[in-house]
Amino acid sequence: MPTLREVRSRITGVKKTQKITRAMKMVSAAKLRRAQTAVLAARPYAASMQKLLGVLAFKAGADADTLLIQRPVSSAAIVVVTADRGLCGAFNSNIIKAAQGRIEAEYSAFETAGKLRLITIGRKGSDFFTKRRSPVFRAYPGIFGRLSFQVARDIAHLLVGMFRSGEADRVEIIYNEFKSIAQQKIVAETFLPVPAGAMAPGARRYGAEYIYEPDRDSILAALIPRYLEFRIWRMLLESNAAEEGARMTAMENATENASEMIDTLQLQYNKARQAAITKELLEVVAGSEALSNG
């Protein structure tokens, strides 16, 4: 049985922790709102861009640009998007586990042959993979504090360069998609070659040929990198929103757990206090009885 004083100090401790988790939840809620707005604001551009690229790729043919061409895969790159910070539930460990699963299932041969390049975005993933597995080819830690489009551009550049040079015949990205505040969905998508065929299912209906200015292939060559930069940008936004959602949920649970813990401790404290009082009473009564009997 812990003493009264011990229980009391534990209650104070848990209350302090609860104060922190509650504050973190509020901060996450505010950040989530911002991240969510950014995700929603990027959607119209994404939709139009995707449609345009799909139609254009359909018109130009599947082999009009190197970045569209599917070639035999003998090397690959995997991009894993994690968070910079922890305390967001299983967010980071889930995505890392998913990435490891993907690597084992699809790319283990490449990995042993040294033909797999791992690129990590977010400090948690960078730390994890640097400490353990295959060497990290390129890490982008600490970018979520101030997300800038320039980072997305740099990452897209790197990946396109790897694809062009043959360092990676396929580039895959694993990230968290923002579903709702309490729900993230881990998605593994092919980034390169660009799966343009799947992008505009209605492209066939676009009968009339366009007037191109300057010409079709240069527009396509300008549009694809732009699309890829934007795609990375969207993934960063999605992952960021998903992370804040996960953190908010985790902190809410922590706050609730703290409340439960405080209740249990309070009960324990009351019981201990009762027991102490009873004991004292017994002593007093026994003492007075001893006196009157004497």
Binding site: A42, L52, E209, E213
Partner: protein
Amino acid sequence: MYEKPFNLDIIAPDRLVYRGQATSVTAPGVLGAFQVLFNHAPLLAQLAPGPLKVMDSAGAVSLFAVGGGFAEVRDNQVTVLADSAEKAGEIDVERAQKAARGAGDRLREHLPDDELTREALARALNRLKVATKQ
């Protein structure tokens, strides 16, 4: 002047800048500015940084600063996918001036990424031009 209207969307990566009807759009194509009117033939154009002029059905003209991008015209729907787009009144003149000055300084030093700097300079100057025209 009062031509038939068509639909116009101007979309930047971070927001929908304009959605509505227009009777005339003049856009800065990479091969030179072009104008789109009602029933224009299907067109796909790459845009350079420059001013984008929109006339609505009432004949009012609004000016946008576009930092390059793409424009698609099809079935009386014009979609401008701009790398950046701001309405003339929304442009932060001070920021644009600062950017232009910074880019100019960097160009004089002949740093390796001259190409990017030149693009940034073009965008900043375009913003200033559009802002002062208003």
